[in-house]
Assembly symmetry: C2
Amino acid sequence: MSIYAAMSRDELLQEYQSVKARFDAGKAKNLKLNMARGKPAKAQLDLATELLTTVSTKEDCIVDGVDARNYGELCGLKCAREYWAEILDCKSENIFIGGTASLNIMFDVISRAYTHGLLHSERPWCKEEKVKFLCPSPGYDRHFRITEFFGAELITVPMNDEGPDMDVVESLVKDPQVKGIWCVPKYSNPSGIIYSDATVRRFANLKPAAPDFVIMWDNAYCIHEFEGEYIPFPDIISLCEEAGKPDMVIEFASTSKVTFAGGGFSAMASSAANIAYFVKLFGVQTISHDKINQLRHVRYLKDKAHTIEHMKKHAAIMAPKFRAVSEALECQIRPCGFAQWNNPKGGYFVSLNTMPGTAKRALALCKEAGVEMTPAGATYPYGLDPQDSNIRIAPSLPPVEELQEAMDIFCTCLKLAALEKLLEV
Amino acid sequence: MSIYAAMSRDELLQEYQSVKARFDAGKAKNLKLNMARGKPAKAQLDLATELLTTVSTKEDCIVDGVDARNYGELCGLKCAREYWAEILDCKSENIFIGGTASLNIMFDVISRAYTHGLLHSERPWCKEEKVKFLCPSPGYDRHFRITEFFGAELITVPMNDEGPDMDVVESLVKDPQVKGIWCVPKYSNPSGIIYSDATVRRFANLKPAAPDFVIMWDNAYCIHEFEGEYIPFPDIISLCEEAGKPDMVIEFASTSKVTFAGGGFSAMASSAANIAYFVKLFGVQTISHDKINQLRHVRYLKDKAHTIEHMKKHAAIMAPKFRAVSEALECQIRPCGFAQWNNPKGGYFVSLNTMPGTAKRALALCKEAGVEMTPAGATYPYGLDPQDSNIRIAPSLPPVEELQEAMDIFCTCLKLAALEKLLEV
């Protein structure tokens, strides 16, 4: 095998025959494998079994004089706010506890921005002539979809190794119609990079034209190292405060990938003024979120140190999967020279750029061979990757052996799509 | 004591002195009692302690091939949908399972109506020149607040013993700006009445001018008898279907007052077409609700028959409290002849109409004496009771002895406010 770009047509044809045969053989196995979503594996869910029994008696339900079973405490239990404050390195008055999913709080924030406006909005966003939202890409499709749902124009911002291209961001926020930006600052979805300190500082020091510009700081993978030790990360909330823009950022996090993806608990962190503003709005929709589940989590996860210890058990399950992805790509794709990818040390994804114009085709081939992947384009606004090149690999769900099979087929499909393109077949 | 209306000024003055002395004595006790909200008592929460341990092992988390701990099943677990279908007497495909609070699903429905429209909307409600919403009153303040929050004009509809005045409703829905109505059809909040079969049938046969008119059918107390046997109630969904308007109604319910007020699980029921429409919208905000909590509930509550048995334990706690309210009112207020109230057999409230123009004053006096009540006016749109007469009594939270103390003060305050009014002091 050698670099496709350097091959003659005859050599490419020969390679095509060989790759095609391998594809057909893979397809004949009638596999049904899934690398589409960042779903934790069963072995990871099993790690948190004790969570189920940390609140078992009626006495267990009382904490700090509050009965977790009854209505009340819209902001969340004191101990739950303190727990998240320690994890996110902010103060407990900066914390609002949500339900099982942080995505739902993000949706509610944007939804309320549209119908009622944010703290510094001159009017609800639905009354603006146009709202634009910055989408560092490749990024998370569910983020982009929320702002698309409310009719915002999504603007792609390129990502580099230190985070979103801040020259571009600083230039775009001069437009008063630009109302915010989506960020996954640590182990970014899908590129896996950690925003550099310089990037974080430039975010805190943004001078947007819109008074209600909001940084949607989804710190989904804040403690999700699977290789090496926990890496501390700057607290964006105090940085924004120091920069004189305390209300510009809202941070989100959850235990979906710490305990149970379908039954964790989530948090929003922001300035005390923002929290007070949202409590007023959120009080219309609910009396309180599930405090028993909050209590269960705090009793089980205890504190930051204990949670980071717990995350090492996840790491032991995740690391071999990411190694399997990396090894397959190194072995099968590196020699062909048409694709680049990252090797993250945390988070849930590998981001791969294949030969431009072949990502969709490669994933269609995967599907044909029984391997489901995140749809090509999903990592760009409107699901449209202008290069048709980026693919998000989500290796968490399948066991390693299945993953190896799936990666084998995936690599074959990448090559087949590239060869089809080069040969114009 | 005798009927105030028949007393001379001297007799009224004498009564005033005596009632005032009783008020001062009550106030001197420095009590802190609460009859403000329909919060279950600790003894009721204790009834469901076993719920905490019905899902305790990793094996417990798997049901019908689904791992309740992971992402997925936006509509809810199959068994959870079947559970609610049996309770509400509809089909499981009519059911969407939400989070802990049905109020949040109601909010989301109205919120999405505003930003995106309902299934048959010609445009999102925010693009309508005006939206009007019918509020049978006295009614539930949190319902009214949701539609007020989105800028709807709230229109009061009088309540009678069979439900909302349907002559008024049928007339108002001829206005195409009237987009919906709030209903608590069984043990109505606060009047405690059950909509008659004729009322329910007239609802199903409404012919509103607005194609997207929605009946918000909050069946919050569907199995909440505290006196007598469970009373079956017609299924509004099939009635609307028979009447050729299958998408006109959305029903809501939850276990907030069956298991834990802060950790129950909720359901929305509607036509399959409506459910499909909302699943599309709700899929933007969340991947799935807490399925472990759904499973916990289904394992604990089992089915309708078992749930109704469980509700009898609530009844044993609730009935003496409602008797205490009724006895205090009969003994202290009935002879004075200036107030009327209901004696419900289910639900969470007693609705009392005191002398017009004295409700606010009576509750201010209550507060002064350490008894917190639902604010006067709360049962009317915008918190404005045109008669300043209706008061909602919520006797569930305090133990019977405290409740008797609170009712003694409450009755004294009702009388004092009435006497002040009659004497113009």
